[in-house]
């Protein structure tokens, strides 16, 4: 019974995260300036979003790039193959600002709705 409750709670948090993960990624990119995939995962983990996998992050970055919110560049280092770095575009910053405002308003409404 306890296990079921814990799993249900994790599912709920997972659903919440799905709706705002793109904003968290944009915010992490703004914080970092630019980052490659693993760097972004670390930045997100430092912000409290632990447990994210590469299998979730890269398709999301691909969608953000398709939408023009993120751009990427291949950077060749001193050793090893080139690595892709991601940057936030102006449209991405605008989307983040709008998302922050929307999230703030939504969180306030939910807090009110959830009060006993």
């Amino acid at each position: 019974m306890i296990v079921a409750v814990v799993v249900a709670r994790e599912d709920r948090e997972s659903q919440w995260l799905k709706g705002v993960l793109d904003l968290a990624v944009l915010a992490a990119l703004v914080r970092e300036g630019s980052a490659y995939g693993y760097g972004l995962l670390r930045s997100l983990a430092e912000a409290g979003l632990t447990g994210l996998k590469g299998g979730t992050l890269y398709p999301l970055l691909g969608r953000l790039e398709d939408d023009g919110l993120v751009r990427s560049e291949w950077v060749t280092g001193s050793s090893g193959p080139p690595r892709r770095y991601f940057f936030v575009t102006a449209a991405g910053r605008a989307e983040l600002e709008a998302g922050r405002a929307g999230w703030g308003a939504f969180a306030a409404r939910m807090s009110t709705a959830l009060e006993g």
Binding site: E32, S34, A35, Y36, G37, Y38, G39, R42, S43, K53, G54, G55, Y58, P59, G62, R63, D66, W74, G80, P81, P82, R83, R84
Partner: protein, 236 residues
Amino acid sequence: MTGRGDGIRPRPDAAAAYGAMLAEQLRQGGLAEPRVRVVVADLLDHVRTTGEDPVQAFGQPADYARAWVRPLSRWRVLGRAVATAVGAVGMFAAVTAFFRGGSWSARMSVTIGDLVVLAVFALGAGVLPWTLELWLGHRAARRVGRRPRVPDVVIRAGVMLLVLGLLFTVFTAFDPEVWEPVVLGPPRPVVFVVGMVVAAVLSMVRQPRSPALPRLPGTPERWWERTPGRPGRRRR
């Protein structure tokens, strides 16, 4: 900028094998080759950096591919199987017409036996790759790190034996005279030209198995590597 991750490094050949399987699934789904290179390069870079097991970080290749492309529908599989079969028949007809001795102005005699052989060839060239091979590819891409209960080679051998057994049964069930009547007499140049034109269909159909690891992003694509596919827009 963040540094390199810690952890046990996966075997490079294991990451490459995973990348090749992922590339095959993405190509099957119609993702354009430049985009396939980017997706696989991101994966390999991530695995190299973090030392994570690719299956733990990305899931099985078939599942991860679904984040980028829709799986092939039955109708698309059927369409590609038919196109492959038609193209293979065209190539077979063109080669037969070219190497047939005698005058080019003569007509070719096509018997019932020839048509049956052609039908079997079409089935073998079009249906087996888009059924058996497609399934074997999916099976492998869902079982990375796990040994299959029945190896691919055993399944292939079993299917080949079944097909050969069916053919033997069909050909021995009838009197040899049944196969001899001539049913068509097309001019040889027409068979050659039409066969060549129809064979060109093959160049427009992606083949079901293409497990090669893509080259690094940014490297120019050679003309023979260009395969039809969507330019890279993915499912949402």
